[in-house]
Structure formats: C-alpha cells, structure tokens
C-alpha cells in the first residue's frame, strides 16, 4: 500500500467513523445521561463532523492527516473526550511518520493508550475509555508481534477485545470521569467513552477490510 492509498484509507475511515457517530449519537447520549451529563453523543458527533470537513481540505501524509483529525477533535469536542481523543491522536500520529506498517501501527496504538492514561490519569478498571483501549491495544500488539498475524487479522481480534472491554465497564464502579460521582450507583451502566471507542475501531476494521 503506497502513501497515497494509505491517505485515502484514512479519509475513508474518518468518513465512516463520522457516519457511525451520527447514527449512534442518541445512544451515546443516553448512556451518558445515566451516569454523566448527557452530551457524549453530541460531543463526538460534532467533533467527527469537524474532523471530516478539515480532512476534506487537507492532503498529505498519513501522519499529517491523523494529526489534523486530532486537532479538529481538540478544538471541537470539548469536555473530557476532546483532549483525550484529540490530544492522543495528535501525539500518536508522530508514530506514523514513516507510513502505515505493521510496526508503526503497533507503536501508534501503544502511544495512543499511553497518552489517554496520562492525560486522564486513568488506569484500566476505572470504567473509562481506557477499558476499551487497553485490551484492544494489548491484543493487537500480541497478534502482530508474537503471533505474526497480518495487521488486518490482528485488528479483527482487537475489535473483539475492545468489545469485551466495553462489556467489562458495566459491572464495575467508576473511579474517573463524571460517573465516579455516583459511587456505587455507577455499577450496572456501560461507559459512553468506551462505547464510542469500540464504534471507531469497528469502522476502522470495516474500512480496512474493503
């Protein structure tokens, strides 16, 4: 896959993600009303529409495109999700400077997880997006580096892993984010940010599979 094809794939992926978030806007907001402040759907939808628009005006390397998307999210999403999604994409995009390869995508994924954990001061088990990102990244890395699977297959496994991460957020008590204010009452509700993370990964897989 040459750089141009890679860049096109990124355009397509962001478009698919934006469409998916538009569809899931209400569902995400409903999840956020139960344990947060009922805006996660609107935030993510607004952010990815903006990212899509900016990418339509942008040509360039994969790294530049991902960074542009990240900047768009930082300036449009706001709330907790803005700096977490946007800032992490911005940082992690540096790992794609040599293009998209099995190696660089693993580095990208690790850097993304690291940045979210740092900015959010969150660890796995806090009932946040980290719970979806962690199993996805770990599974991806293991599949590529240890099992020598090709990236597409590895991504498929990562999506399954993220799904289990999302399911895992439901029965646990929140330690970070607005849901933490609820104390024990947060148990039994699925985390919105973990859920939107899963949607993005699903769309990434769908576009990569084409």
């Amino acid at each position: 896959m040459d750089r141009e094809t890679q860049s096109e794939a990124i355009h397509e992926a962001v478009e698919a993600m934006a469409d998916r978030l538009a569809e899931e806007k209400e569902h995400l907001t409903d999840l956020d009303s139960a344990i947060g402040d009922a805006d996660h759907g609107a935030n993510m939808n607004r952010g990815f529409q903006a990212a899509l628009e900016r990418l339509e005006e942008t040509d360039g390397d994969p790294a530049e495109l991902v960074k542009t998307a990240g900047v768009a999210l930082v300036s449009e999403v706001g709330g907790a999700a803005g700096p977490l999604y946007g800032g992490s994409l911005m940082k992690a995009s540096q790992e794609l400077e040599d293009g998209i390869t099995a190696e660089t995508t693993v580095a990208f994924a690790e850097r993304y997880l690291e940045t979210v954990e740092e900015r959010g001061k969150a660890s796995v088990g806090d009932k946040t997006m980290v719970d979806a990102i962690t199993p996805a990244v770990h599974t991806y890395k293991k599949a590529v580096e240890v099992d020598d699977h090709d990236p597409l297959e590895a991504l498929g496994k990562a999506v399954d892993a993220a799904e289990r991460g999302v399911a895992f957020t439901t029965p646990i008590r929140a330690k970070k984010g607005r849901a933490s204010y609820l104390g024990w009452r947060s148990v039994g509700h699925q985390d919105p940010g973990a859920t939107s993370t899963l949607y993005l990964l699903e769309e990434l897989l769908a576009v990569a599979t084409e």
Binding site: A42, V74, S75, G79, L84, K176
Partner: protein, 333 residues
C-alpha cells in the same frame, strides 16, 4: 420539552450575541465563544479568566467586569470549552502582567485548561497560573472519584481573586487568595427536577413525583442520594449539615453564605431556604457577615438549590466587600 430557543446547535452562539447586545461593556472575540471586557487586555493588572460549559448562566461571562473577570470562555452546553479557545482567551486578557485562570474541577475543564496553558506559554510566552476549585462536599475526595467538583463556591473565588487582581496583586498573590478561598468554602446542592438540555430536549435524569436528588451536580449528573421529598426546612438542614460537617468551623466564626438557585426555582423559595439556613448558623454560634440569595451558578432549568458557606477572615472580608460591577453581581462601596 418546550424551550425558548431556535436550533439547539445555535443556542450558545445566539446567547452570547444576546449577551453582548445587552452589555456593551462586553466584547466577543471574533470567531470564538470567548467573551472579554471591551477594553481587554487591561494594562497594569493581572488578567483574570474563567470558563466552562454553558448552561450555568450568569456563570461564566456574567461575572466579567470591574473587580471580577476579564474574560470567560463558553463551551457547548455542559461541555468544557476547547483548549484552542481557552488559549486565545488567555492571550487576549494578558495586559503584560500575566493571566490567572479559575478552573472548576471537572476532568474536561482541567485537561482543556492544562492544554491551553501550555499553548499560551508556547505561543505567546504568557505567564499563566490557575486554581482548580473543588467545593462540592457531596463528592467524596478519594481514590474512587475524580475528586470533588467545582460548583457555586467558584463565584466566591471569582470575587476574591477579582478584587485582588483589581487592587494590583500579582499572580502569586491572586493564587494565594484563590486557594485560600477554595480551602475554606463548601457547597452542597439538591434537585427537585432534572434539567433539560437543548440538545436532548428531555430530562437528563428521571425523578419520581415524590423524589428529590441530594448532592446533585450542576450538569444534571445524578447526585449521591435519592430520597423522598422533604420540607424546605428539612432539605436546608440536610444541606447545611453536610457543608458544616465538611468545614468544621469553630463557634464564633464569621461566614458568607450563598443560597443559589439552580435556574428553575423561584426566588421566593430561595428566601424560604435562606430563612432556615440563617437560623441554623445562628444556632451554632456562627456569624453571617454576608448572605447572597439568587441564581449564581445554574443548571439550565433545573429546580433545586445549593447552599454554600465560606469561612471568612479579615482579608477575605475586604476582598468580598471590594467594589465589583458585572452583569451578574454588583458590589458598591
């Protein structure tokens, strides 16, 4: 649910337009949701700024003016403003002596302000410091939470820091009094009904006809406890006790109080609450030096109130009594 709005997406923009139309001493930074004093940056003083999600009016831009804020950034409803706009605001309010930010303790606000401070330092070499206000005693500050939330006590921090900035205090002085205020203030809120965001158009949470939520946040985040409806006196006792337990004041202490409306509760009822609050403080030998009653930090159309108590000393009294002239609060000499 019916609202006096046009498109939900336009509500923050249109509100800000209506606001600067009403208050010619305010100006909007073009292409942003940031409002500043018309004469910003003011030279010879530290710029004082704040910001956060919309839906808490008159917070935040309503406290811009002499003796309080120089600028305020409005995010989407209940969503932190973005880092790029916060950074623009910080730079627009720097008259050469740096800028001090009042941030409420929400992860979104804190992370965006942190990013903005880095950006302003990098882009314009601006000297920036901030305080993170966390006065909400409803939330346990423990390993298991994101820490206490910033709620109505923030208004006292705006006032105190604003007076210190107006009197020529430097960033360190402002930070000292802002932190002092934050350490000595506690707030607890409750809701009779949920707020309705323009975007969702329906109650954020469901409360039964006979239920109330204690320890409610200002974003329609569910509170800490749901109980049967009680009388105003009982509710006041509950809130006041929670705040006083947290502050642990000695008899004879002087305090300032706020009975804050959440937006949908009539002023009549806030005065009913203030009556009992002052009785309770009196019973404990606490001396109310100033009592505010009104809508200071709202949650859209939510019905309910919060009670804030601030322990005073001579410095805080002087700073609270200093003149201020803003749309949301005026103090005359």
């Amino acid at each position: 649910m019916k609202k006096l709005i046009n498109e939900p997406e336009a509500v923050v923009d249109e509100m800000l337009e209506g606001m600067v139309a009403a208050h010619p001493e305010l100006r909007r930074l073009e292409g942003t949701e940031v409002v500043v004093r018309d004469d910003a940056p003011v030279e010879g003083k530290v710029g004082l700024v704040s910001g956060g999600g919309s839906g808490h009016e008159p917070t935040h831009a309503g406290y811009i003016g002499d003796g309080m804020l120089d600028g305020a950034a409005a995010g989407e409803v209940f969503t932190s403003p973005t880092a790029d706009q916060l950074s623009e605001m910080i730079q627009a309010c720097d008259g050469g002596d740096g800028v001090f930010c009042v941030v409420k303790n929400y992860e979104g606000d804190v992370m965006n302000f942190e990013t903005a401070v880095e950006m302003a330092e990098m882009e314009a070499d601006t000297d920036v410091e901030y305080v993170v206000v966390d006065d909400d005693v409803a939330v346990e500050d423990s390993l298991y939470t994101s820490g206490r939330r910033g709620v109505c006590g923030t208004i006292f921090v705006h006032k105190v820091a604003g007076a210190m900035a107006a009197s020529g205090g430097d960033i360190a002085e402002i930070k000292r009094v802002a932190e002092k205020t934050n350490e000595r203030v506690g707030t607890m809120g409750m809701a009779l009904t949920s707020c309705v965001t323009p975007d969702k158009g329906e109650p954020t949470f469901d409360l039964g006809e006979d239920e109330i939520e204690l320890g409610i946040g200002i974003h329609g985040e569910p509170g800490t406890e749901r109980t049967e409806i009680m009388s105003a006196d009982e509710i006041t006792e509950h809130l006041t006790e929670a705040v006083l337990e947290d502050l642990d004041l000695e008899s004879g202490s002087e305090v300032a109080t706020i009975v804050n409306g959440m937006g949908g509760t009539p002023l009549m009822e806030l005065y009913v609450v203030n009556r009992r609050l002052q009785e309770l403080l009196d019973d404990r030998g606490l001396d109310t030096w100033d009592a505010w009653v009104g809508d200071y930090m709202t949650s859209l159309d939510m019905m309910g109130c919060s009670i804030t108590v601030l322990e005073l000393d001579d410095e805080l009294k002087d700073l609270l009594a200093a003149p201020a002239e803003t749309p949301g609060l005026t103090v005359t000499e």
